[in-house]
Symmetry: D4
Subunit: 207 residues, 8 copies
């Protein structure tokens, strides 16, 4: 990674052994920074629990962090539509932390239960950047975009019943939001959204 940015291990397609040794080597090379590992299968998480007990593990998020993240500067609100969106929401949250911003998780506020979302409006509006995570028809960012004026990143997820085209529907919906200023990343790409949100929040909060 570019000097200064944390190191990250992408777990998909790697064996548990490869992941353990990658984390170890990067941690040894950068003992002062946190190293993040994403997309970890259960077997990889189990192996990490055994061989790297110092690592912080998040099973729902399929994540591990080794080393201490920087002190948080600014706050990112990460807002999720449904429980099935949780793994991606957690990937955003962990990335935000490792890249140096604070994170406030607001879960299960999909538009089918509008009152739950409206009840959290002020909390979300107070953040320095907002990441909205939603699948299916992904109406959440449009509704949010009409309620707040904070920089807003939308992450489409591959969550849905039947023919949702692996998240294409959510992705198209976010790009066609009737609320101006909605920014997007690739389907399920919580990592990229987290990197961008942390950069915005950290700068925003500069004294």
């Amino acid at each position: 990674a570019r000097t200064g940015d944390p190191e990250v291990v992408y777990g998909e397609g790697k064996t548990p052994a490869q992941i353990v040794s990658a984390l170890r080597a990067l941690h040894a090379a950068h003992p002062d920074r946190a190293v993040l590992a994403t997309r970890l299968a259960p077997a990889a998480l189990a192996r990490l629990a055994e061989e790297l007990p110092a690592a912080w593990l998040d099973e729902a998020g399929r994540l591990a962090i080794l080393g201490t993240p920087p002190a948080p500067v600014g706050t990112v609100a990460v807002v999720g539509a449904g429980t099935a969106d949780l793994p991606v929401l957690r990937e955003v949250a962990a990335t935000v932390g490792v890249f140096g911003a604070g994170c406030d998780e607001v879960v299960d506020v999909g538009v089918a239960g509008l009152h739950r979302l409206l009840a959290q409006r002020d909390r979300i509006a107070g953040a320095d950047a907002v990441v909205a995570v939603a699948g299916m028809e992904a109406a959440l960012p449009s509704v949010l975009g009409g309620l707040i004026g904070v920089p807003l990143i939308a992450v489409p997820t591959s969550v849905g019943y039947g023919w949702h085209l692996n998240g294409l529907t959510a992705w198209l919906a976010m790009l066609n939001s009737c609320a101006p200023g909605v920014l997007t990343v690739n389907v399920d790409n919580g990592f990229s959204a987290g990197v961008a949100a942390a950069r915005i929040a950290r700068r925003t909060a500069r004294p």
Copy 2:
């Protein structure tokens, strides 16, 4: 059309002269029923104004009705997201009327201005059937589906800025709505939605 159903002229690809004579012929054959003409270009509307002064014309809806629609039985609420969705909303409304139900038009209640939609909730919930007309990311039916329990038909429109794929985005969004029970028709097909909604409302209201 099946005996009993009104006759309809689809104006696209027909000359003004063809439309006038089709309306005349159908009206002569069924003097007791209303005949509907849809998708009328400005030139066709102008010609109708001149040659069939008895016809009722709707420029925004690109429509004409010749003859008297039946007395309305039951009510359909037709709900539209934005002003650009108006032509399709009007096609729904006219069809509903000609097919024998009453119609309540609720316009400009897209989700980016949530308070306007919430203010109309009870009015919409009181109808016998609801038709939601929306383009772009088409979040409206999902929000509506969480607020009311009335039979709900969603009409995707080909309205949008940039790459909305001629309404495919709205269509996919409606089919992937997180609210169960949302029914759809083809893009911009206000006619088919109106036929279905009128059938539901008319039966619903049977004594």
Copy 3:
């Protein structure tokens, strides 16, 4: 679910243990209503048979119902093209029942054997709402739409030989039906069709 609507467990991606405990918890919270579980794998059905003997199971439909559905109001005819469409047809039927309407199943009346369909015409035309379930080229709803005037919902299924694009062909066919007023839901989404059909039938039958 919105107050009054039955609770539903979507079985896909859940372990048998999760499904059992979800059903138990929802039943305990709403002892007076039926709870529906859909998309159950054989292992989940086996576990339910053992641990929740009070549940009603439908193997062909991959379904379970715990508790007593409401007394049926109105009738939905659920019409299926082929035997491969049966699981979706059953999902419609179970949902209709749990959501409070009666259900009449008319199976194996695809258009390649037209006489079998024509023989059931009056039975179908007598229902308060019709759900047509078909895969492949999905000609059934168009033929039905020319024979009856009852509100008609078409459910495309992902059934076919070779390149049917996971039901896209059936879906497109239904949206382009030459019969006006055909309403659709997502591919294989018998649940959503059932919710909508029950709402229509229940209202229709109000005294």
Copy 4:
């Protein structure tokens, strides 16, 4: 064209002058055979009427034939769903004639009016080959395939309201017909269907 086959001029993208001179040249080279010109714009037809009065013109079919077709051997039934399918139906019929078979046109027998189709069943079943021309959801060939055992070619047309994807829907439907043995050609390609049908009918009828 391969020796023995008639010469054909494809009119799309050619000027009226180019079409006239192509027909003249081919007719001079093969005075004993008919020359066919397809996809003629109104301007081209007008020019032909003036400059080649010996040519037979079909405005609905956008066609011209110069010279005498061979005596017909065998019969092709060309069956059309709606009036909008007529231009393609006529392209099939003219091609069949020029390629040496007889042609029986059966129009306006789409599946939404099933009784009209059933009334023509025996007439269609008596042909040596059948070509079914249909747009929208293209249910016609599936219904026909369940009624007759004659070789059956289905031509999808780009006819439809709204999002029919320029005939892709009809095309996919025909390729996924539940009736076995349905053969297809490209969208609107009446010419290719006519060539194939004439070959089948001519051989079939060999003594």
Copy 5:
């Protein structure tokens, strides 16, 4: 199947036990006709070898035939591009036989080795109908269409290296053949091609 046509069992998605009992039942009901089973997995073939020793099995074609096919009337040439196309070619051949025509298999004559194809030209041209089976870019039917005037059906296969889109490339190529009169069926659908070819050949050969 329609009276007179042979019965067929589609093996995909059925257990070996289901296939055995389906064949047995159909054979008992129609002892005078052959019953065909297609798309048989190795386990199904093994079970058939054991339990129905009277059945004729084709491993390469994943097929079984129980009972005696009718005496062949007319001949179909089935022409294949590469060895990977063999399973589909065999499905065509078996279907042709069971539906009452004779079959001549011409294998491994893809266009990359043009001399091998040219060497078989007269043999192919002598048939009453030709079925060309090809994957990848599917150039074979176009080359054949320029060499022979016999009715020609092209079957696209899902054979290819890398991004061939499960046969879509071959399918599109066949529908856009520069040779007129090429007819197609769905990807890998040797069965439907065989039914159609047998019908053509049987009529062709009528005295």
Copy 6:
């Protein structure tokens, strides 16, 4: 627009007269804010030059601004790949200004002339937010993402020779950037990118 945000007129599909009167009305309602009009055809620009001489016009950007934008807070670098991307780049720039941030335009630094881009690196890295505008294969944001750590928004344009799918290629490329943290908007949607970038820059620069 939400209170506080500038009003914007989307010119596509509006007549010159409609645009003039919309600008006039919005300016009268909000005399203290700038009103922006985008996607103006030459005829609309000409009419504005005549009837609203106080408006600032940008022909290359197809834009007009009526009234005084706020004093700029923070800086957005808008970076363009080629001259054909200029209209979209200008839409970004004008929107940024009207929404309250300063703008630095860096044009014609596509990756095929890498030295020109490298020469501007420090200038770009000094901004509070960066918007990269590129069509064709859209390599620019990936190269930029490897050079700078500033929040980065990529706008795909529908610019290209031949089959670029109206900007889909650029869009897919941006969503699959190997540089983490790249945010995107819809094809050609300079307006939405400008709104988001201004929000980021304005917050960033808060004292």
Copy 7:
């Protein structure tokens, strides 16, 4: 353009006046090199004939060349399937010449008339690089690839009847050629193919 490469003006979307002045300016800046202009509409060609009489014009190829191309080094055979492919074939040929190689045009050798292609085999095989230009199902490069071992570039054209998807069919066919080593460019991109072929031929022929 990179130093040494000829300058090129892409005519699409430019006015005749812009094209004339671009050619003039580039010619003045590089009097020793040829300047190429492609994709010229008839109006642009007419204007060039008048204002730049020294330019060489190719109407079929929609091209102009101002100044003297370099002495040709090596030979490129440009092979075209049909007459409709001619404009692209000419774009290849002109580009090859301006980029410094010799060009041998072999036209109208599509696979439907195989003998014409076989008759040119040795002529084609003698070139230093081959460019095959074909539309529709684009079988030509596969057949060529089986006949010669020379570096082979295939250019798909947007030529076809009906649903060829603007050249996508030809493009997919070329990428799935059963002949190894076939290289492709974008649909109709004769320019890019010509640049590449000239580079190969010039190097090949180095003494």
Copy 8:
């Protein structure tokens, strides 16, 4: 293979035993040439190590070579963007060697680390042909195309996070490169790129 070209075994879908015997047979038939086997699963590589110890194996490239490749004529630079692209890069390299040219592998020079690529510029520019292997947004060939004038083949790989459409994104990007003269092959088709590059390099280097 055409006389003179090496024999190749495509390992996908073949058992280890089939691969061993195919290599043995081809080597026996052509003892003077090298035989290449591609797309070998680990089990096939293990079997080859045991049964054909004379074969050269490349695990990363999933390859085997039996027999001695020809003495190399000319040089191909094979340039790879990331480590995940290595298997395809190795397939290119092995094919180049077996088809008679020398190969220089330049790995891990993706555009996100521009300095590493720039450091290798002269080495790459000195080759007779260049093959660029890249996935995700595939910016590498465009950047290379602006730096060198050597014949350039781009191989898209199916490498990416999330929605990259199995390499379609890389493929579209390469076909839309802003650098003229970029040639492509199918996704992951290192074999075809290697065949073409070797042909170019061998000719180039002829004395």
